[in-house]
């Protein structure tokens, strides 16, 4: 082997090449970010000019008439989200507690893996599941089926955030409780959970933000409704489904309302997401 004198010209070329390459990666990042700003900007411009008071207070007008709003869809979405929380959160949070407190074994690993798999099931497939479970036997579209579908979609995130934030509670805190003779379940319920509460609530908010925009599982479960919902055993309209039906319709005024609804939905989702992230210092998780 011969020693090669340091070739400064070559080194400079390598550095220059590196700079150029890094510049192109910076362009990639800038491109992706500009997509976000484009979406926000475009939706803002088109949405804000279409948004008016009627949107929040009026029912949809009959086909062909202009005006009207989406008050029923707003209420319907809220109703569906409440049901989804009732269905999904108990299972998600308790399973998260199990994984954090008892789940350091093979069964826990299986549950964790299954949770990740469930997280990846396409939302439309969850919709079919709710359809076969509720709509087929009852022979009608119901808000209940829609709530169940959204609830199933909420479970994975609830499980993983609950587990993660309970794991962050130091072991010494638990040990202190045991040393005082406090049974394990009381330790978990009265000490560990309150300590982790903020994180868990944050996770739940992100969870709601995620399912609030879900459309696919509602198409053939909660279906839609141009009037106020008459109960959980009747079809219910929701904001995302309204956006979809209005966007693919041939009516100019419906397009306008779709933009307004899109702005309202995106604002809701992003505000919930951003608030949740600022609530916990460390970056939260989706």
């Amino acid at each position: 082997m011969t020693l090669v004198a340091f070739d400064s010209g070559r080194y400079r070329r390598r550095k220059l090449f590196g700079r150029l390459a890094f510049a192109s990666t910076a362009l990639c990042a800038a491109g992706v970010l500009s997509a976000l700003f484009f979406i926000l900007g475009y939706l803002w411009v088109h949405g804000i000019s279409s948004l008016n008071w009627d949107f929040f207070t009026k029912l949809p007008k009959p086909v062909g008439e202009t005006g009207g709003g989406m008050a029923n869809a707003l209420v319907g979405s809220a109703e569906l989200l409440c049901m989804a929380g009732l269905f999904g959160l108990p299972m998600g949070v308790f399973a998260g507690i199990y994984l954090s407190e008892y789940g350091h074994n093979r069964f826990g690993a299986v549950v964790r893996y299954t949770t990740d798999i469930l997280n990846g099931v396409p939302s439309i497939v969850v919709g079919i599941f709710a359809y076969t479970l509720f709509v087929l036997p009852m022979r009608k579209f119901t808000a209940l089926a829609g709530g169940a579908a959204l609830g199933a979609m909420m479970i994975p995130i609830a499980v993983r955030t609950t587990e993660e934030f309970m794991n962050l509670v130091p072991i010494s805190v638990r040990e202190a409780a045991y040393a005082l003779g406090i049974p394990r379940w009381k330790t978990v319920v009265f000490i560990v959970i309150p300590t982790a509460m903020r994180g868990i609530v944050t996770g739940i908010m992100l969870d709601f933000a995620r399912v609030a925009g879900e459309t696919a599982p509602l198409l053939f479960t909660a279906f839609g409704n141009r009037y106020w919902s008459r109960g959980i055993l009747e079809p219910t309209s929701s904001l995302p489904v309204m956006i979809y039906t209005y966007a693919i319709s041939p009516y100019e005024d419906w397009h306008r309302q779709a933009w307004a609804a899109g702005l309202v939905l995106l604002t809701l989702v992003l505000v919930m997401g951003v608030l949740a992230r600022f609530a916990v210092r460390r970056p939260a998780t989706v």
Binding site: I39, Y113, S123, T161, G181, P240, A247
Partner: protein
């Protein structure tokens, strides 16, 4: 952070078992029963998750029996989808799903990995964190809103500019031939690419940041430039994690419904041209499920759901294994 895997968090070791901790004392009886009840409740909800996931697969399997018996494996290769004649072949939908997902990956992977290299290797940590936060917001935008922008912004752009230009320059390829409709495989692939990029960036950045500092420093000491460190040390280290990110993104692209339904044109054809309107598995479910008249039609649609479920299950399982394997290698930033 994208995938929650508590195994590598500063996690507490498993708590000592209650009987050792609280047992033996005079007031342990209520504690013991409470512990059993609590453990049982938590355990049964965990089991519920297994049952739910299994139940999804089982209900799809059971409710597609008519179609499975009528068509067998030919269902997957049949080209004719004619509900009126009772002929159901899912090939156009399979083809559309695979084509649009592949197109999306082709666009999103280079862009996403490039952006991740910037975020993990070059950008100062604060800037990188802020940008990642914004990119995660992009992942939170609901699919129907992508669809809304797709219909009114992307499709006209594609019809008026992108497709005529591609047709003129690369029109000799069958891929870019045919009239510019706007709606079709190309638009669907583009919109899917935008939707999956955040996933690729977030996971890739995460695994790249977990490259051990020693490895970087060693390469630097040998005289490598920063770019050479990124390509010869960090990328190989992060390889299986990046593959995991790509699989996660693929699973999402396969199952993505609303945005695709709104821009793909909803025509069950198998066409070599990207300009042609098409259909995907998820889109046909969204469009035809409520209109399905007759049990065979409904069963055929549910079988498409079954195929979609199976495909995303396999891809996701692989993705999780890959991401876990890289995280458990113990790299600390």
């Amino acid at each position: 952070m994208f995938v929650l895997a508590p195994e590598h968090l500063p996690a507490s070791p498993p708590a000592p078992h209650s009987r050792e901790a609280a047992g033996g004392s005079s007031f342990s009886r209520s504690g013991k029963w409470g512990d059993r009840l609590f453990h049982g409740t938590a355990l049964s909800f965990s089991t519920g998750i297994l049952l739910l996931t299994g139940g999804i697969g089982a209900s799809l399997w059971r409710n597609s029996s008519l179609s499975r018996h009528a068509f067998g494996w030919k269902f997957l290769v049949g080209r004719v989808w004619d509900p009126v004649a009772g002929q159901f072949g899912a090939l156009p939908f399979l083809y559309g799903t695979i084509l649009t997902s592949a197109l999306a990956l082709l666009i999103a992977v280079p862009l996403g990995v490039g952006a991740a290299i910037f975020l993990s290797e070059l950008a100062p940590r604060r800037l990188s964190d802020i940008m990642s936060f914004l990119i995660e917001l992009l992942a939170a935008v609901p699919s129907v809103i992508y669809g809304l922008l797709g219909i009114f912004v992307l499709v006209p752009l594609v019809r008026q500019f992108l497709e005529p230009v591609l047709g003129k320059t690369l029109g000799f390829l069958p891929l870019f031939s045919g009239p510019p409709y706007g709606v079709g495989f190309l638009s669907a692939g583009l919109i899917l690419a935008v939707m999956i990029i955040p996933f690729i960036i977030t996971v890739t950045r995460e695994v790249m940041l977990s490259t051990p500092k020693l490895l970087r420093e060693a390469a630097m000491a040998l005289g490598a430039t920063r770019w050479e460190v990124a390509t010869t040390v960090v990328l190989p280290f992060a390889r299986s994690g990046i593959s995991g990110a790509i699989f996660l993104a693929l699973a999402r692209a396969l199952g993505e419904t609303m945005a695709v339904t709104m821009v793909i044109g909803n025509t069950p054809v198998v066409s070599a041209s990207l300009f042609s309107p098409g259909y995907t598995m998820a889109a046909v479910l969204a469009n035809e499920f409520t209109e399905a008249t007759g049990d065979l039609y409904l069963n055929a649609l549910i079988e498409i759901g079954l195929v979609l479920f199976g495909a995303t299950l396999i891809v996701n399982a692989l993705a999780q294994l890959l991401v876990w394997s890289v995280k458990n290698r113990g790299g600390r930033r």
